[in-house]
Every structure is written in structure tokens, then in C-alpha cells.
């Protein structure tokens, strides 16, 4: 549960890397350059072993594990660094590791670890995250799958080479419909994608699948919900890092800005506000740590829907905490926090996108209530 010294070293080096190589200034330079991330930085990330953090050494990975990669995502979240780390190294790799066939693992994992192949999770279709309502459908025709449908605002959907796509497999005989993940190379005929200009500048795309023909071994096994739980935990790690950085930015301001002849950080009303935010941060951090540990523990400690519960717990709590902190980051900076030249707005915008991704805080509170039996 507690962080061991390897993880401590990893944390130090990851934080140093992103602070130096991909500070918040990179968000602005990517935005100015009209690109969603900097491929050179991604190359460096892969070389540090982060792209293959979940992947065993036999497949060319570094085997750092979920808790370790969570620490890296957290570090990246601190400077809002854009890269395929979350989608590819965390969500994509975890999905293949946990549910891929040995053949799928052997063909995909080494290329994820090297950073050569990037993945993206294509799940939502509407204004809200409602995977049960998925209409994208996969039909079995001979020894092929035919995929039809549209996905809305796929994170990294503009750049990823392999789209991990949720589709409804139509019933055969006495079966009922079921949902399943498919591995769809973005270059397949019938796949078209449109990059969208997101409020936070990240590389999201709408994707259309028109009679896309896939081989029979492109379906992924396992419970479809599991991949989304993992995705939520990855997003939560990122949000936790962003929240801690936004609070640190605010504290710096409180310790340097004077008004009425006092450092504004000496005003008790502001002290109590940030102290409460700090308490919240400790709770959301505990939730995300527990969720990452649960992924490392895998089957063992996760009976009774514990992983689902922890996934919703950390997604909702980190979402709420980042929401509250990013709002107060603007407010406590005053006017300067409202200007585009200041970083406050970057946190606020990214918070909104991450909050919405794979179910809002409200969605996950509802799911948690269901899991409680309410």
C-alpha cells in the first residue's frame, strides 16, 4: 500500500522529466502549432520505459506496474502534458494484457512498449457516457466482422493507430446482444476521423465506421466493463496530479501576492478554503492509490465488485477535487487568473474534459450508489 523506494525514485524522475521537458508552456506551444502532442516528447517518454510500464519484460516492457504508471500519469497531469501515455500505455496496454489472446499480446504489446504503436479507446456515441446504449454494431459475416457506427470525441482519436472500439455484437439464436471490444486499425478502409477543436486543445476526434471489415481475431475477450474501469483509474491518476499542481500554483500565489498590506495567504478565510481543498486532495489521493494497488493485485483482492467500486470512487472524487481546486485557482488568482496568459485557465479547461471522459462525477456517484444497493 505504501510507496516503496523504487516507486519514490520513479516519482522523482517522472516529475522531473515532465517539469523540464513538457511544462505547461508546451500546452501553449502545441496549441500554437495546431498539434495535439509533441512526437519527440513521446519518443523520450517511451525511451524512459513509461510506454511499456505495464508490459512484462518478455514483451519489451519495463514491468513497472499500475501503481508505478499511475505515478507517471500523475506527474504528467501536473503540467497537463499531452501524449499517448494515458490512452496507449495505460488503457490500451491494460486492455490487451488483461483480455488479449496470447497472439494479440505478442503482436501488440511490444509495439506499445516501444512507443511505435498507439491506441485509443473509442466508446462514447452521445452527449453522455452511456456505454450500455452503444449502437455501433459488429456483425459476423463469414470469418469476418463488419463494423458500422460512429464514435463521439475519442481521446487521441486523431492520432492513434489502433482504435479499441466498443460495439454491439448482434444476437445469434438464443443469445442476447452483447458488447465487445474490437481492435480496429485506424487505417482500415471505411474508417474516417475528424479532429475536433477541444476547449483544452487535446487531440480528440469523431470517428465513423462504415462497413469496416475486420479479421476474426480482432475481438477482445473479457468483460467489456473492465476496460472502462481501468480507463477511469488512469484518468483519475491524471486528474489527481493536475489537482495537486493547481493547488501548488495557488499556494505560490497566496504566499507572494500582497493586498491590504498583507500576504493574501495570511487571510483566514482563504487559509480555511485551501486547507479544506487539501483535505479533499488527501481523500482523492487515497482513492486513486487504492484503485491502482487493486489493479496490481488483480484477481486476488477484488472480489465483490471492489474494482468497479474503486474505479467509480476515484473517478468521481478526483473529478470533484480537480473541479473545486481548478475553480478556486482562478478565483484566488483574481483577475490575472481570468487571462489567457495565465495557467489557471489551462487547468480549468482540462478539468472539464477529464471530468466528462468515461462518465462524469455525477455518473460515477450514481454507479457507486447502485453498487451500494441504493
Amino acid at each position: 500500500m505504501s510507496m516503496n523506494s523504487d516507486q519514490q525514485m520513479l516519482e522523482d524522475s517522472a516529475r522531473q522529466f515532465f517539469a523540464e521537458r513538457s511544462p505547461t508552456a508546451a500546452v501553449r506551444s502545441n496549441r500554437a502549432a495546431g498539434r495535439s502532442f509533441d512526437p519527440d516528447i513521446w519518443h523520450e517518454i517511451a525511451e524512459l520505459g513509461f510506454a511499456g510500464a505495464l508490459i512484462p519484460e518478455t514483451y519489451g516492457g519495463s514491468g513497472i506496474g499500475y501503481r508505478g504508471l499511475g505515478v507517471v500519469l500523475d506527474a504528467a497531469g501536473r503540467s497537463l502534458a499531452a501524449s499517448p501515455l494515458l490512452q496507449s500505455a495505460f488503457i490500451g496496454a491494460a486492455a490487451i494484457l488483461r483480455h488479449g489472446s496470447p497472439e494479440q499480446q505478442a503482436s501488440i504489446l511490444p509495439r506499445i512498449a516501444s512507443g511505435e504503436l498507439t491506441l485509443a479507446l473509442a466508446v462514447d456515441e452521445h452527449a453522455h457516457h452511456r456505454p450500455e446504449d452503444t449502437r455501433t454494431r459488429a456483425r459476423r459475416v463469414g470469418d469476418q466482422w463488419i463494423l458500422d457506427g460512429r464514435k463521439r470525441l475519442v481521446a487521441d482519436g486523431d492520432s492513434a493507430a489502433l482504435l479499441l472500439t466498443l460495439a454491439r455484437v448482434e444476437a445469434k439464436g438464443s443469445e442476447s446482444d452483447r458488447l465487445q471490444w474490437f481492435l480496429v486499425p485506424a487505417a482500415t478502409a471505411g474508417v474516417t476521423r475528424q479532429r475536433r477543436h477541444m476547449v483544452d486543445g487535446e487531440g480528440f476526434a469523431d470517428i465513423e465506421f462504415a462497413a469496416v471489415e475486420l479479421g476474426q481475431h480482432t475481438a477482445l475477450g473479457g468483460a467489456w466493463q473492465d476496460v472502462l474501469d481501468i480507463a477511469c483509474i488512469g484518468v483519475a491518476s491524471t486528474m489527481q496530479g493536475a489537482a495537486e499542481a493547481a493547488l501548488a500554483l495557488t499556494l505560490d500565489h497566496l504566499k507572494t501576492r500582497s493586498q491590504f498590506g498583507q500576504l493574501i495567504g495570511s487571510f483566514q478565510a482563504l487559509q480555511h478554503r485551501v486547507a479544506r481543498l487539501y483535505v479533499d486532495l488527501q481523500l482523492s489521493r487515497a482513492a486513486v492509490t487504492a484503485a491502482l494497488d487493486a489493479l496490481d493485485a488483480h484477481g486476488e483482492a477484488n472480489a465483490d465488485g471492489r474494482l468497479q467500486r474503486l474505479a467509480s470512487l476515484c473517478k468521481a472524487l478526483c473529478g470533484e477535487t480537480l473541479h473545486d481546486i481548478s475553480n478556486d485557482t482562478v478565483q484566488l488568482h483574481g483577475g490575472i487568473g481570468m487571462t489567457d496568459v495565465h495557467d489557471s485557465g489551462l487547468f480549468l479547461k482540462r478539468a472539464r474534459v477529464l471530468e466528462t471522459l468515461y462518465g462524469s462525477s455525477s455518473h460515477h456517484r450514481d454507479r457507486y450508489a447502485h453498487l451500494l444497493g441504493l
Binding site: 475528424q194 483574481g334 487568473g337 487571462t339 485557465g345 466528462t356
Partner: protein, 397 residues
């Protein structure tokens, strides 16, 4: 028929004749008439509507007739507002002169100044902007540092103002300056000057929501005639505070234009959807209901305060302005947040294809709304005011 009913009758008839039909429809932000030398009108009707209203002094209904105002008493003013609301008439003129500078000039200016500045405000000929905040003086407004030196026959001003809304479009500025550096509040004066004066430069500010009407204004060796000092030298702080109160009252009454854009309940029904007549996301539903309840109560409170207005003194008005400002800012921010939640993915766009126009606009409004609790006095400052003025709580000894 008593006098006030006669006034209502006459007003109704006059409006029937003079308010063009196109001026009785909802107005978009672009259609607002701000007047001034660079005035632009989106229609001939808008120009005419301003002209006829200004001629009767009804752009400033309660100002004295000798300064171009309508000279109405409180009861008549209320009737005029009711009749304007009844036909859903657009305000003929938006103006910081009408809302902020005029009221303090009436109270603190000398006769010559009133005659000089008020009538062009009533007619919408001169557009004013507000030179208050400075980069180093935010909430602590009285720490402002823009120097104003007495040069015998004129003042010489050097410094920088920030958050001067529409400075690039305004004709004149009312401005707080430091005329004595030895004392804080007692060293501030209130001056006005033409924005064409040499040494005045403006630069627009880009906000997190994109382009904005806010500017930085640089003042370099700006020469201001001495008859453009309002009130006594070093006596500007009293005027400044009174003006802030008018600003807050106005902001609250407008509630940050919070009827603009998508209706929250409609958006919830459309983007989240109902199941058995109940919003699918019940957690969100509960929060929307809570918000709408506070919002309705706020509107009722503003209405009631307006009706009670005549009876409350200046101290109560100051506290009330702060109360309403705090509530208005928080409610508009809440509304924007809830709207974003309703929109989900549709609220994540910045620009370009693939997003609904309403969604893109809501996203910008949401970002812009974060400033509501900063502009016109931060929520923190207003809570200080409430604690002291309304609740009588002490300062630390």
C-alpha cells in the same frame, strides 16, 4: 383616475406610438446600443428608439430635467419600468455613464460639471469607461498607484489601469488617481478625461474564454484640465465607494445577463433526457432543482428590494448591493456549470465544426462566468462588506 394612473395611461399611449415593433423583441448581445462618438446601430429602429427616449429624458428617467433627465419621481419611474416590461421593450441604451458615473456626478459633482457631462450621457453621445483597477491593486483598490501631479494649470497623470471594459470604444474615462502618496485612502482623487488625450493608449485583454471587452489602459504624461477633478482633491475614495455600490447593484439587477443562451431545464431535457418523466441523471436533477430554487428566490429578493427601495438608507443599500452581487455571481456560475454538465460532450468544444453553436457559446459563457465572482468586487471582498456593514462584526484589534 388619479395622477399616477393618468401617467400610466399617457406613458402606455406614448410607448404604443413611439416604440418600434422591432424594439419589442429579445435582443442579442450584438444588438446592444452603447452610444458614443463611435456609436453603431444594428438598425434604424434602434437609432430612432434611442433618440425618442433620450428626447423625453427616459434613458435616465429619474435624473433632473435640467440635466436632460426624465425628472420622474419613484412612483412614476416604477410605472415607466412596468410599462416598458409589459411591451418587452429593449433598453434603448447601455451605458456606464447612466449606471455608474452619472449617479455619482449628481451627488458629488459641481453644477458646471453636471451641465457639461450629464446631458450627453442621457442622449448617448458620450460613452464612458471606468479606470479603477491596476495590476498591483486588485481587491485592495485603494492601494492604487497611478500618479496624478498638480502642474499648476493642469494635472499630469502617469500609470496603468487594467480591466477597463470597452476602453478601446469609449470616449471618456472616469478614473481614480493618487494625488497624495503619504496616506492611502485619503490620497485618492476622482478625475475624468477624454480618451483622445495624448498619452492614453489601450490594449485589449485575451481571457480564458477568448476575446473580451476588457483592456489595459496605459497613461503616459496625460494632461488633464483641473476642472475635470470631481469632488475635492484627495476626496476621491468616498466617490469611488459609492460608484462601486452602483456598479454592484447594476450587476445584480442584470444578474450577469443570466437569461442569455440555452435554458438550463430545456438543455437538461434535451441533452440528458427523461425516463418516465424524470431526468435520467437524478443526481444532476437534484442539483438543478436546488439551483433553480435559489435562482427564483434571488429574483424574488431583487424584486422585493426594488419595491422596498425608497425606505432603505445608504448603509443598507451598500450591504444589499454586496449581498446581491455575491448571490448573482454564484448563481450565474452555478447555472453555467450545470449547463456544461447537461451538455456533456457537446460542451467540450472551442470552435469549428462538429459542435452545436449553442454548445460552443455555452462553453465560452461558462469560462467567462468564472470572472463573475472577481469583477465588480470579488466575492471575498463583498463577504467582508456584508460581515461589517450588515452584521456589524468587528475588525481585529
Amino acid at each position: 383616475m388619479n395622477e399616477i394612473e393618468e401617467f400610466r395611461h399617457a406613458t402606455r399611449q406614448w410607448l404604443e406610438t413611439h416604440c418600434p415593433a422591432s424594439m419589442r423583441t429579445p435582443m442579442s448581445e450584438r444588438e446592444v446600443v452603447w452610444g458614443g462618438r463611435k456609436a453603431s446601430f444594428h438598425s434604424a429602429d434602434a437609432e430612432q428608439w434611442l433618440r425618442v427616449m433620450a428626447e423625453r429624458g427616459w434613458t435616465a428617467p429619474s435624473w433632473p430635467r435640467q440635466y436632460g433627465g426624465g425628472g420622474l419621481d419613484a412612483a412614476q419611474h416604477a410605472v415607466l419600468q412596468e410599462e416598458l416590461r409589459r411591451i418587452k421593450a429593449r433598453p434603448p441604451l447601455y451605458s456606464f455613464g447612466l449606471w455608474m458615473f452619472g449617479p455619482v456626478l449628481l451627488e458629488f459633482g459641481n453644477e458646471e460639471q453636471k451641465q457639461r457631462f450629464l446631458p450627453p450621457i442621457v442622449r448617448g453621445e458620450i460613452r464612458w469607461c471606468q479606470g479603477y483597477s491596476e495590476p498591483g491593486a486588485g481587491s485592495d483598490l485603494a492601494s492604487l498607484a497611478t500618479r496624478c501631479e498638480d502642474q499648476g494649470d493642469h494635472f499630469l497623470i502617469n500609470g496603468q489601469k487594467i480591466w477597463t471594459s470597452y476602453a478601446n470604444l469609449a470616449d471618456w474615462m472616469f478614473c481614480l488617481v493618487r494625488t497624495d502618496t503619504r496616506t492611502k485612502h485619503g490620497g485618492i482623487s476622482f478625475v475624468v478625461f477624454d480618451m483622445r488625450t495624448s498619452g492614453v493608449e489601450t490594449r485589449p485583454i485575451q481571457l480564458i474564454s477568448g476575446e473580451s471587452p476588457f483592456c489595459e489602459t496605459f497613461l503616459t504624461d496625460v494632461r488633464v484640465p483641473k476642472d475635470q477633478l470631481i469632488g475635492p482633491l484627495n476626496g476621491g475614495w468616498e466617490i469611488a465607494k459609492r460608484l462601486l455600490m452602483h456598479e454592484r447593484t447594476n450587476i445584480s439587477a442584470e444578474a450577469f445577463g443570466n437569461a442569455a443562451g440555452l435554458d438550463l431545464v430545456e438543455a437538461a431535457r434535451q441533452f440528458v433526457g427523461l425516463r418516465d418523466g424524470v431526468l435520467i441523471d437524478t443526481d444532476l436533477r437534484a442539483r438543478i432543482a436546488r439551483h433553480r430554487m435559489r435562482d427564483e428566490a434571488f429574483r424574488l429578493a431583487v424584486q422585493q428590494a426594488r419595491a422596498d427601495g425608497a425606505r432603505s438608507g445608504a448603509a443598507a443599500a451598500t450591504a444589499l448591493a454586496s449581498i446581491f452581487k455575491v448571490a448573482a455571481a454564484s448563481l450565474n456560475q452555478q447555472r453555467c456549470e450545470l449547463l456544461m454538465e447537461c451538455l456533456g460532450h457537446e460542451g467540450l468544444g472551442w470552435e469549428g465544426d462538429g459542435f452545436l453553436t449553442d454548445g460552443l457559446r455555452a462553453t465560452r459563457h461558462w469560462l467567462r462566468s468564472k470572472g463573475n465572482s472577481i469583477e465588480g468586487g470579488t466575492t471575498e471582498i463583498n463577504l467582508n462588506v456584508i460581515a461589517k456593514r450588515a452584521l456589524g462584526l468587528p475588525d481585529p484589534s
